[in-house]
Symmetry: C2
Subunit: 321 residues, 2 copies
């Protein structure tokens, strides 16, 4: 199923979220409007804002508040990518040029800061201090996860456990907050809020693991970025950690990180992973998180939103880009 | 008067603000605790958090809320400096090595993000959604001001008016918010909130102009940074704009920006400004904002806090670093 048709009952409100974000460009300062144009055009599947809206369906559905939360979540995600691209020196994302490839790095950092601030302003517009607090703490968690990733770059002593902790902070925390925040705004019962947070966390874990698998087995054109891009940045993900585990000696990743004949060793690492059952084994781990996510849904009422949340789990596992 | 003895009635609460910020280092992730150590040690005069506390004295003084706002303001300011130093490639600040001179730029950007998020979390701890909103909008304003500065670097067609607009966003907005936020938390009367915001804005304008003068006439050792550092970054401030106005032709700043014999032309520009009455003329502008700030105070009750706010105006004009 394509994400465009996936979000059924919240599709229309999701368009309003888009409009709220697009309104960022309406600035009287032309150079900045152009910059925002550039970074906002590269938005993706709108999965995270959809989660907020859907979670809001398990209490009193209040679109006028939920739209602000959803916009905050999506804009925060986009701001994170803007800073990530500066840090990784990436030139393309989703097949488009990144901000830092067009603007100066300095400008791009500040543009990201502006977007962070605007996301915080969106969430403040919900008027709900608990949701505001949840949001700021999530930004802290994401930044800690990113710093952890940066600090452990090229460090082949990392464990799978540390990897899972890292993606918990870097990715799953925002999925969890998207769901929990939506449920809180709908004033859903406590047990439902907890179930939705649990769903979001596990969905996010599955999402990131699949992302990390696709970085090795995906199609460059569909993904809009080169295969093995994580390894190029020194980032060890589940497939590469499993490859290191299986071949502790004479491993192309170690050679790659020693910075000799990089292209050759990168290609070799990618090929070894593709030829092995490592992608399958990694998918098993993604599936186990996906099952947890589905499990969390079982305590919720059987409504249209719950069905969509289940479909999203399937989509996250099956997506090719 | 030294700032340490300046803050009289809020001195003790200011120490609690420091303690709240210092608590950021209490992380179970050692490498990040060390990084925070580095950036938090370089804190300055605590002028902004003092303003929040003092403004809180014009309503019901609620230290338990004000401390969070003051910590948010000071931490936001520190985070801004962390990103600024990456952007300017600065190696020292207040005589200490900057984060980016010790850490990688990438790590420093994310460290700044973490600090921004923590500042947002502090302000959320006030539980006051109006103050949260004011804060997030101020971060947006600051980021716009910084982007404006970045976009106009090396552009000698700038006007003094544009400069004033820029420092209004980059600096005065945070002073204004420090005061307004404190007043709001104290539930001060509307007219007092407005007067304190007005005071903060004008104080911030005077503060930045003096800063920009000191960049030319100050003592390198006292300031902990090289003389003319703004010009080195291509940033035109009031003294350099006045120099451009007076010598439209054959101006060392134009030659400096053309990137030939930089040291020579920088020294020449600094010397010309120092020898002229440009510092005096710039001080006149700072003084006129300072008078506005004092004027704003006259509508407030004559209490100890008001006397201190007046002393701060004098301090801002007379400071040497």
């Amino acid at each position: 199923m394509k994400p465009d048709t996936l979000y059924g009952p919240v599709q229309q409100d999701l368009d309003l979220v888009d409009r709220a974000i697009d309104a960022l460009r309406d600035l009287d300062y032309e150079p900045m409007a152009e910059m925002l144009d550039l970074v906002l055009a590269a938005r993706g599947k709108r999965l995270r804002p959809a989660l907020s809206l859907l979670a809001g369906k398990f209490g009193r559905y209040r679109p006028n508040l939920l739209i602000y939360l959803a916009a905050a979540i999506e804009l925060l995600h986009t701001a994170t990518l803007v800073h990530d691209d500066v840090i990784d020196n990436s030139t393309t994302r989703r097949g488009r040029p990144t901000a830092n490839s067009v603007l100066r790095n300095t400008t791009t950092v500040m543009l990201g800061d502006y977007m962070f601030a605007h996301a915080a302003d969106f969430v403040a517009s919900t008027g709900n201090i608990d949701v505001v607090r949840l949001f700021s703490q999530t930004v802290m968690t994401i930044a800690r996860g990113e710093i952890g990733q940066d600090m452990t770059a090229y460090d082949t002593r990392q464990t799978v456990r540390e990897y899972l902790q890292r993606i918990g902070g870097k990715t799953a925390s925002l999925f969890a907050t998207a769901c929990q925040g939506g449920a809180l705004l709908g004033e859903a019962a406590k047990s439902r809020v907890a179930a939705l947070r649990d769903y979001g966390h596990n969905l996010g874990m599955a999402f990131q693991i699949v992302d990390d698998i696709l970085d090795f087995v995906g199609d460059e054109e569909e993904m809009g970025k080169p295969v093995g891009s994580d390894l190029i940045q020194g980032t060890l993900t589940l497939p590469s950690l499993l490859l290191l585990e299986r071949y502790p000696k004479n491993n192309p990743i170690r050679k790659l990180f020693a910075r000799r004949r990089r292209d050759e060793y990168l290609a070799q690492a990618v090929e070894m992973i593709r030829q092995s059952d490592i992608p399958q084994e990694s998918y098993q781990m993604a599936k186990s998180f996906a099952s947890e996510a589905e499990q969390a849904l079982t305590t919720l009422p059987r409504n249209a939103a719950r069905r969509i949340l289940r479909d999203i789990v399937t989509y996250v596992l099956e997506r090719r880009s």
